[in-house]
Amino acid sequence: MTRMVWRRMLSSLFVGACAIAVLVALVPLAFVLFFVLSRGVQALNLDFFTHMPLPVGESGGGMANSIVGTLILTGLAALMAVPVGVMSGVYLSEFPGSRFTSIVRFAADTLNGVPSIVIGVFAYGVAVLPFRQFSALAGGLALGIMMIPIIARTTEELLLLVPGALREGALALGATRARAVFTVIVPAALPGIITGIVLALARVAGETAPLLFTSFNNRFFTTELTQPISSVTVQVFTYAISPYEDWQRQAWAGALVLVTIVFICSLMARLATSRVADMRGR
């Protein structure tokens, strides 16, 4: 019976260890959120959103140009990635089983795993080097490439969730396949697809590495697409590794803005996916 006691103990120990693992992972999360929140709130004010960065020594200022920059960069990325991603997703879900589909699916997963810094190097090679000019366009390209596989795979998955009866209904009415897909199936999955796009946007909005040598940084306000442009992430990086306390404070404020965006998007996605799950359950 001592063996039984030992087995029971081992089992309880294992269960306990798993629970501890959860805590071990949540502690850093809590720490990160706590510091971002407490330090960020101290530094965050309206000026942060409306003012330009100030030179060293002057207190205050903001990241107005970086915020606009991030919006422009993610906008450019979406402009490029949404059509390619959604249409690829349609292709993947409509023509499963073909060799080309497997290749595309594999490529999407591969692209998803490519380090963002490598994508930055690629964008530098095709969009910066030939023009000898850092630009918002190059940054948008890098972020767009990162978004494409996420959108494609989300779209594919969500389209596959649409009940087959809907498609058959449309086809039975004499719709062509394209018509059935774009007037019935895609609209049915649209809320989910939009959620996927928002999540992908949130993810690339937090990217720094691919922007370092594509959109670079800019101390000034610009909306010029062929010029280097600032972004919140690169600006946070610049400030974070600077020796000036004022700048470091700004970095925390920037981090708070980034985390807030991510948090809201994740929450929205959670709510939306639970609705999709409901749909599936029914």
Binding site: R3, M4, R7, R8
Partner: protein
């Protein structure tokens, strides 16, 4: 009472609180292996079993029959507390094995399950070798002291399951490479290896072809010399062929429990008769 019952005879003739085969004077039938009294089972708020009382005798084969969803499998799984792993499951009433209440507080569930073996509807071998599948229970329960003893018990179990001759030369091959019928007999061997005294079988042949089914049935017949066997089946011919006693379940209740020949030739309940003659189900 349940208002949705269409057949009025049910309401008139509720089953006796403790059903027990009435005929037959064989000695073994005086002994009771499993004694269940007023057992009800709930999934959350839903009552899946209602006030089941039954005495199951050692070294006989008892079959549970009834239409799907009637609770026969659920009842089977209360006998080794397999339902414990379902969240929200709850049991009321008592179930005794050899006189000990298996739902009493402090009962060693792990030990109980070792003594009450179970074979499932779909064969579920581990993705390991044939040998390791049978050895698994022996290993976790620390039931074999030496390698030779382990090998001996594995062989013994495989022989009991009438599988030894087919697999003795490929014990190290993956169990997943076997045929469906072989896999099921392997699962029986695996259950026998830990030397249970009760064997619960949940539709063990429902996924098998007729020849494999016949082998399982022959095996059940052989095994009852050493084990108390409870077998759930939706196949009435099978119940008639292999079992000594039969219990008929309907809508979570035990309608009739008697000697198998009696159930199939002269059931006491109209509902049982309707079912065994194929009028519904």
């Amino acid at each position: 009472m349940t208002g949705q019952i269409a057949n009025p005879s049910i309401r008139l003739k509720a089953p006796t609180p403790t059903a027990r085969p009435t005929e037959g004077a064989a000695n073994r039938e005086r002994d009771v292996k499993i004694d269940v009294e007023h057992l009800s089972f709930f999934y959350g708020a839903k009552r899946a079993l209602e006030d089941i009382s039954v005495k199951i005798h050692p070294n006989v084969v008892t079959a549970f029959i009834g239409p799907s969803g009637c609770g026969k499998s659920t009842f089977l799984r209360t006998l080794n507390r397999m339902n414990d792993i379902i969240p929200g499951a709850r049991v009321e009433g008592t179930a005794r094995i050899d006189g000990n209440d298996i739902y009493a507080p402090g009962v060693d569930v792990v030990g109980l399950r070792r003594r009450v073996g179970m074979v499932f509807q779909k064969s579920n071998p581990f993705p390991k070798s044939i040998f390791e599948n049978v050895a698994y229970g022996l290993r976790i329960n620390g039931m074999a002291g030496s390698k030779a003893e382990l090998a001996g018990r594995v062989e013994e179990s495989l022989r009991q399951a009438a599988l030894w001759d087919e697999v003795k030369d490929r014990l190290q091959e993956s169990a997943l490479a076997m045929s469906g019928g072989q896999q099921q007999r392997l699962c029986i061997a695996r259950a026998l290896a830990v030397r249970p005294d009760i064997l619960l079988m949940d539709e063990p042949a429902s996924a098998l072809d007729p020849i494999a089914t016949q082998r399982i049935e022959e095996l059940v017949y052989d095994l009852k010399k050493a084990y108390t066997i409870v077998i759930v089946t939706h196949n009435m011919q099978q119940a008639a062929r292999v079992s000594d006693h039969t219990a008929f379940f309907w809508l979570g209740r035990l309608i009739e429990y008697d000697r198998t020949d009696k159930i199939f030739t002269a059931p006491a309940e109209k509902l049982t008769e309707d079912y065994v003659t194929g009028r519904f189900g």
